[in-house]
């Protein structure tokens, strides 16, 4: 609705308009900042600069008198400013702590490995005490094992269950509400279903943990109480309003001339809905599912509370499962800030950001395209 300017703007007005323009860029700035500052903390992992190896060169304490300040700074990992502020006594203590750290480390054959190298982050490895090469996420351990494969599989598995549960329901409801329900029913059905989005995810998690887990266990009779199924179904409840809302919009914005033509030619309402409206709205429905995928991948509290969080590689939905989001939420507060565990968790966050960003971008493109097409037709 860009209206043409009537007459020359006042200088102050000109300033204010520049201000409005600047503020409008905030969203762009924020997306950019989110990526930069989450990735910044993870950068050492991406660049291969972190080293979780436990075998490190250790110098005897007396060496502090013979090393040059620069060498000493580098050895102790101090900045020049920190070095200036510390007295000899503190430097001595640091030298001792470094030795303690090295002697406490285990004499495992894997102790010398840098487990934050990509090889170990995504490839299997036969660790000491394991019978065969495996994908292991055990970050708090004598050897820090940071394999992200179990978490990726966990996230995808729970997401798949959530989509299988929610997409048919949400699409069915979207078709019903947009095509078949009377206008009156529609007026209260749509907001009611969207009210699901108003239930906080921590409440869904609570409900899954206390009620749904018991119910599903009785229904299917499996062994472990918390598993991918429970988490997936609870997650599905969070996904339903997302898919429903967008699919319903897409279905209702199919031009009325389509339906009128089909009905006039003698097709029934379901034929019209199924053969005319649904195909016409398919890109929008697809976008709805993609957005639902993004929502499911990114949801935290539900999976943290209801999935059992065992980091295993398994295809069964009756096994407990650990997702990327739950891992970050559960582990970050206890890590050594700036340490390799902390950085690997930020790396997972970056990964999650990229996955959801790409899927949102794709869905966004489809929706924009769809909208312009619909507006053109009207």
């Amino acid at each position: 609705m860009g209206l043409k300017r009537g007459h020359q703007a006042h200088p102050i007005e000109w300033l204010v308009e520049r201000g409005i323009f600047l503020v409008a860029t905030t969203a762009i700035l924020m997306v950019f900042l989110i990526f930069v500052f989450v990735a910044r903390e993870a950068l050492p992992v991406f660049l291969g600069q972190t080293n979780s190896s436990l075998v490190q060169e250790v110098l005897p304490v007396e060496k502090m008198n013979t090393l040059t300040p620069v060498e000493l700074q580098k050895y102790l990992g101090l900045s020049a400013k920190q070095y200036r502020e510390l007295d000899r006594e503190s430097i001595r203590a640091l030298m001792e702590v470094k030795i303690e750290g090295a002697t406490e480390a285990s004499h495992d054959k894997d102790a010398g490995l840098n487990t934050t190298a990509w090889r170990y982050l995504i490839g299997p490895h036969q660790w000491t005490g394991y019978e065969r090469p495996a994908y292991i996420w055990q970050p708090v351990s004598q050897i820090h094992k940071y394999n992200i494969v179990p978490l990726l599989i966990g996230s995808l598995k729970v997401t798949l269950v959530a989509l299988l549960f929610s997409v048919p329901l949400a699409l069915g409801a979207a078709i019903y509400v947009s095509q078949l329900a009377s206008t009156r029913a529609r007026e209260w059905l749509k907001p009611s279903i969207e009210l699901l989005a108003g239930i906080p995810s921590v409440v869904l998690g609570f409900f899954a943990l206390l009620v749904l887990a018991t119910l599903l266990q009785k229904l299917f009779g499996y062994q472990g109480r918390l598993n991918a199924l429970v988490a997936g179904v609870a997650l599905g409840l969070a996904v339903i309003p997302v898919v429903f809302s967008i699919a319903e919009d897409a279905l209702s914005s199919v031009p009325r001339s389509y339906t009128q033509a089909a009905l006039a030619l003698g097709s029934s309402r379901w034929q019209t809905a199924w053969q005319i409206v649904l195909p016409a709205a398919l890109p929008g429905v697809f976008a709805a599912v993609v957005l639902g995928f993004g929502r499911a991948m990114g949801e935290t509290m539900v999976v943290l509370m209801a999935s059992g969080n065992a980091s295993i590689v398994s295809g069964s939905i009756f096994d407990s499962t650990r997702t990327i989001t739950a891992t970050i939420a559960a582990e970050l507060a206890e890590t050594v800030f700036g340490g390799h565990h902390y950085r690997v968790l930020f790396m997972l966050g970056t990964l999650l950001f990229i996955i959801t960003f790409v899927s949102n971008l794709a869905a966004g493109q489809v929706i924009t395209h769809l909208k312009s097409r619909m507006e053109g037709k009207r």
Partner: protein, 319 residues
């Protein structure tokens, strides 16, 4: 989402008179899906209201935790209600101006086809899709580790006041998260204002800014209000973004400064359902806390739905 879409099914041509099995099955299945979703919603609400209502009392809402937040007789949620309220109010102060101005730019100034507008829209859409836990990481990486620490470097030398989780950082993180909600809602209401109003104002000699401030914004107020309410309701229940940016497991005192941490309703639900020493004994407080949280978020949602519905009805009449 779009206002025009809602009128689509209003005109429905005559029904086909023959009984048609396929049609029956199709309507039946989609109707069942709709029914199931509503049923699940009612079961969750019913479960919480039934179990929570029994243990919800005035004392519970108006008292603190009294040193033992797991003691059924003594525990209260006042500090959590205050903490949650403080963080969403602060968030609203941050997000509302930015969101409304962005929407004004998009509807009143930008050409809808320009490349720049498309980038802004795409950024807003993407912001809406960023996982809440990533906002938490962002809050820690940007607000606390970057802004906070630099602020401390300038203001406090070696002391750390801002470079740690705090109310203000949690609120800012949530403000970034809810920006799309406010922008979309405001934009919708701005678009709904007939351009005749703007043209009339301009024709009478008002400048563009005067038109926006005196004519457009007052008309858009219900939409802005809806946006604010939806943002608050979304933020009030979120836990993941505040885990690392400000929420405290336990605090004896209420937060008094922007740099204080706070207790939070949603986080407290998580604590009660996973960390309580005796889950059977603490179940009443858990349910009551969930009920308080749900009442807060659902009530806000219902209000938003009503405001929005009224707005749309007025709009239809105008057209």
């Amino acid at each position: 989402m779009s206002a025009t879409a809602s009128t689509a099914p209003a005109l429905r041509p005559f029904r086909s008179r023959r009984f048609d099995l396929a049609s029956f099955v199709f309507s039946g299945l989609t109707g069942l899906a709709t029914f199931l979703i509503i049923a699940i919603l009612l079961v969750i609400l019913g479960n919480v209201i039934y179990s929570g209502g029994a243990s919800l009392s005035w004392r519970f809402i108006t008292s603190g935790t009294e040193s033992d937040m797991f003691d059924v007789r003594k525990a209260g949620v006042l500090p959590m209600i205050i903490g949650t309220t403080a963080r969403v109010l602060l968030m609203t102060i941050f997000v509302l101006p930015v969101g409304v101005i962005t929407a004004i730019y998009l509807t009143e100034y930008a050409a809808s086809t320009s490349r720049f507008t498309r980038v802004i829209r795409s950024a807003i859409n993407n912001l809406a899709g960023v996982p809440s836990i990533v906002f938490g990481l962002f809050g820690l990486g940007f607000f606390i580790n970057f802004i906070g620490q630099h602020l401390d470097g300038v203001l406090h030398g070696t002391d750390t006041v801002w470079g740690k989780p705090a109310l203000v950082w949690a609120s800012l993180t949530l403000a970034v998260m809810t920006l799309p909600v406010v922008v979309v809602a405001t934009e919708e209401s701005l678009r709904a204002i007939p351009s005749g109003l703007r043209e009339a104002s301009l024709a009478l000699g008002a400048t563009k800014l005067q038109t926006i401030a005196k004519i457009v914004l007052p008309q858009a107020l219900p939409g802005i209000l809806t946006g604010a309410i939806l943002a608050i309701s979304r933020a009030a229940g979120e836990v993941a973004p505040i885990l690392f940016t400000g929420a405290a497991y336990y605090m004896a005192d209420l937060p008094t400064r922007l740099s204080d941490q706070f207790m939070d309703l949603g986080y407290h639900v998580f604590i009660l359902s996973t960390q309580s020493p005796d889950i059977e004994k603490t179940r009443p407080i858990l349910y009551a806390t969930v009920l308080v949280l749900l009442l807060l978020t659902i009530a806000l949602n219902v209000v938003a739905i009503f405001v929005r519905a009224r707005m749309r009805r007025n709009l239809r009449m105008l057209q």
